[in-house]
Symmetry: C2
Subunit: 390 residues, 2 copies
Amino acid sequence: MTPVKQTNQSRFPVWFELKHVCRQSGARTGIVHTPHGSFETPSFMPVGTQATVKGMSPEEIKGMGAGMILANTYHLWMRPGSDIVREAGGLHTFMNWDRGILTDSGGFQVFSLSDLRHITEDGVGFKSHIDGSSHVLTPEKSIQVQNDLGADVIMAFDECTPWPAEHDYAKQSLQRTLRWLERCMKTHQRSHDQALFGIVQGGTHEDLRKISARETCSMDLPGYAIGGLSVGEPAELMVEMLEATVPILPADRPRYLMGVGSPDYLIEGSLRGIDLFDCVLPTRIGRNGTALTSQGRIIIRDAAYARDFGPLDADCDCYVCQNYSRAYIRHLIKAKEMFGLRLTSWHNLHFLSHLMQQIRDAISQDELLSFRESFYDRFGYVKAGQLKKK
Amino acid sequence: MTPVKQTNQSRFPVWFELKHVCRQSGARTGIVHTPHGSFETPSFMPVGTQATVKGMSPEEIKGMGAGMILANTYHLWMRPGSDIVREAGGLHTFMNWDRGILTDSGGFQVFSLSDLRHITEDGVGFKSHIDGSSHVLTPEKSIQVQNDLGADVIMAFDECTPWPAEHDYAKQSLQRTLRWLERCMKTHQRSHDQALFGIVQGGTHEDLRKISARETCSMDLPGYAIGGLSVGEPAELMVEMLEATVPILPADRPRYLMGVGSPDYLIEGSLRGIDLFDCVLPTRIGRNGTALTSQGRIIIRDAAYARDFGPLDADCDCYVCQNYSRAYIRHLIKAKEMFGLRLTSWHNLHFLSHLMQQIRDAISQDELLSFRESFYDRFGYVKAGQLKKK
């Protein structure tokens, strides 16, 4: 991977500015520019499914340096309805968030309602999880809803091919996803202020990933995502697929690895040239009382922490670790107090934000492979070297 | 009621400094001084039952100007245990709150566990609401637990006489409460930094209220509370009891009306010389999606607010009203999002804090009766004049 010449202007509303390529690993730092501000990459996007990052205020999320959050089209379409969000002035105004927003296509959610949906060439028929009412999500509908919501980045309507998938099914699925992408592009009404990203699929078949990447990139879109990974397949397979795909993606567009947010996968993805990540992990495990620390995960409900008056992570300088003890947070979680869920979510989001800062620093200093090794030595999650970087 | 000469020193750790007596109403403003700072009165204390004001951070509560919060002895004794709080360095350190704290005696909770308790002269036997284990709460135990917790104000162990109560029962109950008070005073180990308040009982019997007030005040305590009101009796009866009791309480000690927090009762109590109030109302109704506004209560789940992009209260300058719409908050509440509960709780706490500021201002300007009338005209809650001030 070699540095790419950049211009300060782009014909797209969202664009990537390359800053540095790590001489040790080939990973890259950059800046993603959006109509709602710019931020450094590689970057983790907190998930605000229903127009709120669970338990957190926008100011708290900003305080961690987040430049972009993800909201879910399916949920907001079903409730409160994209018409209400549009009338409110769009999602930024509705939820009081003035930085970047990315909406997914809704496809992942309707495909996940496995008992309640059927797929045709036209789209996916399904029943609402709220009231059981019938709806059809098509590429056109997904884009129309996303145009209503008004996020800076909107995603093409795709099938997130499940794992495992036979070669035949994965091939048919990626080809339908390509046909759907063309329909998305035709429907999109706000190319001037919303960047439509295409999504590479292909299951865990290297040849299919390459076909999908080449075909998707031939559409000349403002950014590209890699979907259908981190869906249960072994880490080695995810890494193989990344290494088959990323080199085909144009170096001057942002690259987004969907649904990835565990510390090890954030490192492995960054190492392979990914710029953007999202995952519910930090808030979801936080609500279950699990905290990410530099020494690995801790389950704060454990009796071992009843009299532990130290912070969640002695190496962390976040609000939570500066002000609250494990004993207090354990008490709150056991007493089912909202503030306990806020504190664990806050710390976990900060932990990932800080990890991304460390990753960017390591890339800038041409030592991301060394950072990976030292991180795994302490975090003990995936042993360095298990996932060899080619 | 006439102004009292004040000294700047007190032999008590918590003491009252009189500022002004309203010439229109006789209500008073003052300052309550504690080992953890001073604050203006009349004042409302947010309730942090389990060492957290539900959903809120200490900084947010401070931002509203709260000088003292209430925590519940029963809950903290049962979980995490007062020994753990003591080992943490006391409740202030445990919960990261460096202003005043008041703990109740635990009596109200164990008496409320009506199926699970029995009362003797010694105290109250009961079963834990958490695991059903058996415990006895006595005056000695209540004070020992409160000494462990380390609040600035601790409350005597009393029976909150239920309403209605016959004269005979109310009399026996208040006499037992007086005997328990003596045992509390004997047990109290931290008179130098924790102020023990006595509690006036007597049901809704004027003669008993006077006896209880005189006997309790003869103990020369740093402050006095009025208990057993706002427990279901008509507003007129509450007002009669206040008017029978308050004149007996010494003017140079803080006066605390327990469990009161609806806007009308805060006004009626202040009007009759009360300095301190507490209630779960703002956070409890907030979690149910009800907001206090200058025009009365609104139930934000109502369909009427689905497209209402205005603030909860157009006259409110709180964080919530400056940044979020009724439509957004309604969406969050309907979607069961934590942030919705934070926002309604936040606004309601601010509303009461602002109301207390308005009450203090009105007293300072000798126009509390006029303020009461104009407030009720808009809030429409208790019509001005229904509760005549003698």
